[in-house]
Amino acid sequence: MNREKESNFASAVFYLHNNEGQITPFLERVWAELEQHFKQFEIIAVNDASQDGSVEEIRRFMAQKDRAMPLTIVNMSLYQGVELCMNAGLDLSIGDFIFEFDSLSLCYPEGQIFDAYRNALTGYDIVSVRPRRGRSLTSRLFYGIFNRSSGSNYKIGTDIFRVLSRRALNRVHAISATPAYRKAAYAASGLKLCAIELPSSAGADANQPLRFSLAMNSLVLYTDVGYRVCAGISLLMLLCTLAELVYTLVIFLGGGHPIEGWTTTMLVLSVGFFGVFLILSLVLKYLSLVVDLIFRQQKYLVEGIEKL
């Protein structure tokens, strides 16, 4: 194949945490594809405090390459998890297009990396490659809830890797400096996103168990699930106490004869709780506003402007 190589600069950022066994085949695949298609590229390994020989494997790999392409290793001070690490790698990258590998899994056909890039060139700022079916029940549940309540047209899922344009990265940074959950931030960036689904569901995200606290944070930050659930419950309680108040009044006015002191106790209780739940609902509204104000630095998001 004698095609002209792409003159866009490509960066590949990947996450490394005790992947001694996977690193060399992964690097070979990525290197080969990038070298075949791009005039210039760089690879950034974010080493999340690996304790095995992963870094030595990378050095060995680099030692046998004669072409000097910058491979940078970012060594994290202590274990910080994939989101923070990938943000560190992305911040260092200089490419026009950035390939993001959260895991070193190679469960996609050869040529897929460049295919995803070509897809990006057709007008997508973010292209994610994922298996057709999500894997575990919990992750399906999470993505189900997330996608239903995020308000974005784009559905997130268990990605194997992604391609981002520099524009997308700039946009995401303009919204918040360090996105808590990249996938959700991309989906919420308002830019065009496309997902390539692979036929098999094999091996996706082998080293990525769904992280509960991250999942909760993402739901709170990027969707209104939290607010809606809380508001629903407090509204329900509000209605209950209101019903109880009415019931108490009916008994009281209807001349019923409950145990002495019941009516006054119930009146105080229901009026008191009514007030408490009312205030809680208001506080929730305020809290959701505060999250919105702090977290979103930009008020509106445009995908692009078209003049006719």
């Binding site: 600069f9 005039k39 210039q40 760089e42 910058p70 560190a88 911040d91 260092l92 200089i94 490419g95 026009d96 520099r166 700039n170 946009r171 940074h173 303009a174 400096a177």
Partner: protein, 372 residues
Amino acid sequence: MNWDKIIFGAGLYGLYAALQCGQRGEKILVLERDAAPFMRATYINQARVHMGYHYPRSFSTAIKSAHYFERFHRDYEFCELTSFDQVYATSARYSWTNAAEFRRFCRAANILCEDLPPERFFNPGLCDGAFLTREYTYDAQILKQYFLDKLAPLKNVVIRCSEQPSEIEKEEEHWQVKTSKGERESAPFLLNATYAGVNDIHAMMGFEPFKIKYELCELILCTVAKPLENIGITVMDGPFFSIMPFGKTGLHSLTSVTFTPHVTSYDPLPTFDCQQRSGGLCRPGSLYNCNECPAKPASAWPYMSQLAKKYLREEFGFSYKGSLFSMKPILKASEIDDSRPTVVRVLSDSPRFVSVLSGKINTVYDLDEVLS
């Protein structure tokens, strides 16, 4: 022949020393291995007249730079470009400093630092502060002409180019220097102002080498789009870049901390793979001019430009004009605090032998002390 002083290296430090001593009537010989003065580091560097902004981690270097800045400006204003806005910015990520620290540092060093909105120059989120500062750039060619014009009428100062010492021996109160052209010269005072070649001379004379890390550096010359014409931009303090006017040439220089150094050597006499490809011109113990060398590396323009493009807003465009290569020695002790002390070391008293090593143009006055 007998001289009062022999100076190795016709860079700024060498010619400054020659002029100072020549004007006092001393007999001075300057030996320069290249075909003309000012062909290496004096010419091939960012051409910054340092005010100290560069050293937020080394207060002492900053203060000293600021002090010498005014003096250099008074003495050599004719070769300076002063009519541009020098913008320093602190990168939001991976920086050893930040906007608040930088402000505090400038206040402490008493140097101008005016806040500018970072989004005027940079893509969102990349820099947390941008500052208008006062710093100039000098034109090495104009400076060279000044020195040559000043030295021309002095019959007691001789500059011999394409000639270098090949043997140096001590003979009572004198140094006997045999040159590459077979000449024999003698003086009671040797000044080693060869910068990257400093340890080559030490090795020849049997003195202990400076502890130096050598980097083969590339400076890229660019033509720039209108919005960038009267602006210099430096992103601090870490793996970033600088694009600023290059003297009065009308071009900008582009450098980056990660991509400007091509190869590195920690050997006392620097050893590089490219020396074998230089056709015998360069070897450990005798560094050739990297910019003239047939084995100079391929340009890192794709990387440097990409890095700058990532930070700069689109309207600040720039394009490739050419590359300049030179060897840069960095004192190992200064890596942590990034200080750039000017080292003037007297290695022998009688006969006198002095080595100078400085990465900054405006600390040339440090020489005065040893020349008197």
